[in-house]
Point group: C2
Chain length 234, copies 2
DNA sequence: GACGAACTCGAACAGTGTGCGAGTCAGCTT
DNA sequence: AAGCTGACTCGCACACTGTTCGAGTTCGTC
């Protein structure tokens, strides 16, 4: 079966007030943002659109296809600066921060992003512009791919686990402090005999979690970019 | 059916063989490894164990709990060297490679790892030993956490996307070459107007995918470690 | 008014995770 | 030897899932 991107879109919509693919994708995004990945079902989605569940299948082949569409919509939110503005490093930094922000904004991403490879137009656009950034920096040949790959891997790795953490916090429905208390108590039980881990948890006990995670992201990203930059000037 | 009188008295007092949690976890792992995340259902799992589906629920609270168990089992496969052997960098390198290998061995991991935070004993052990590595390297305070976090984020980011790619390849059921041909053709359509992406794809056209991905991993990991090392000696 | 294309949707199917309560079994206590 | 108890199994049932099918409705065009 062809993927949804290469399949020709259905011709011209009628004048009658009718569902459209865009409309469906938008509603899916809303449903996912408010209820999370587990909260998306074709019937719920249809209800939100005041339509029959099976009507959706005229506009979209399967639920997975729909996920492809909505994931690509997220990729569409990610701004990647032009390669010749402000230097490559600032550009990559912006790409990284924008990508992370998008994942955190849509906390269901980690749970669905690995179901299928992302090859939608917006994903391709982002990748392409990312490559341009590293090419402009002076990377050549496969190193262009490797460098971008490293940054994307780090950003997804960081953002995914953070988003997943947040999502499970939201599911628990407690305030951050309550949840923190519970988790830290569990951690106490779970980490007996692992002093390094206990210390690490103690470090988290004090500070605002949000800030800690931002710092962790910046620290890792800066380190990685330093390492890449070194490869460049060698 | 025989009458009560002719039926043999007792089927011998052999100790009743019963399910055990370990047994269930092991079977789950096998099922996941052979059929992937979507192929795991409580009924199929029960069939593999010659038991009723609902019997499982005496040993395990929910399917998600079961996933937690089997994920932690994977964490248990990851060897992390002692901090005082062979230097921190070699140790981290080994941790990273072992973690990646485990994810690639169990290609369903990306699809389930973000459903719940991993706080099983083996995950904690791995984290703890990872922290010890960076502590021994000379990192202090929160930088210990940040450094390990960066490495884990990169490794998961890289391994997850690679494993997911492979999994979708397996699902398609084609040989790598066939699949490659299809994807590259699709890519042609999808990347019109994105020259950087076309170049990038061309670079992949020639070489063995496996090797390319290994190189990409090493490149990123080395870069990151360089960046971290720089922070250390400053 | 007729036709065909665009679109909707109810009924149905096979499958899912899981709660409930009845049932079986081994070993212990009387 | 009988009976109890706690460990364990499991069929039934429920609410829910993604998706197919085919019949039905609305439209623009002849």
């Amino acid at each position: 079966m062809e993927s949804i991107w290469t399949r020709p879109q259905r011709p011209a919509a009628a004048a009658r007030e009718t569902l459209s693919r865009d409309q469906i994708v938008k509603a899916t995004m809303e449903l996912l943002d408010t209820e999370g990945a587990a909260g998306l079902s074709m019937r719920k989605l249809a209800a939100r659109l005041d339509s029959g569940a099976t009507s959706l299948y005229w506009h979209v082949q399967t639920k997975d296809d729909l996920l492809d569409l909505v994931i690509d919509e997220v990729y569409g939110e990610i701004d990647v600066p032009d390669a010749d503005l402000a230097g490559w490093r600032a550009g990559v930094l912006l790409l990284a921060h924008n990508l992370r922000a998008a994942v955190l904004r849509h906390g269901w991403i980690p749970e669905v992003i690995y179901i299928r490879p992302s090859i939608g137009p917006n994903a391709v656009r982002m990748g392409s512009r990312g490559l341009a950034l590293f090419e402009a920096a002076g990377f050549t040949d496969t190193e262009i791919d490797y460098a971008l790959g490293a940054v994307l891997a780090f950003v997804f790795g960081n953002a995914n686990s953070q988003a997943a953490w947040r999502a499970s916090l939201r599911r628990a429905g407690t305030t951050e402090d309550e949840w923190k208390a519970v988790v830290l108590k569990e951690a106490d039980q779970v980490t007996t005999g692992h002093q390094e881990m206990r210390d690490s948890i103690d470090r988290r006990r004090v500070v605002d979690a949000e800030r800690l995670q931002n710092e962790q992201f910046s620290y890792g990203l800066d380190s990685l970019l330093d390492g890449l930059e070194k490869r460049l000037t060698r």
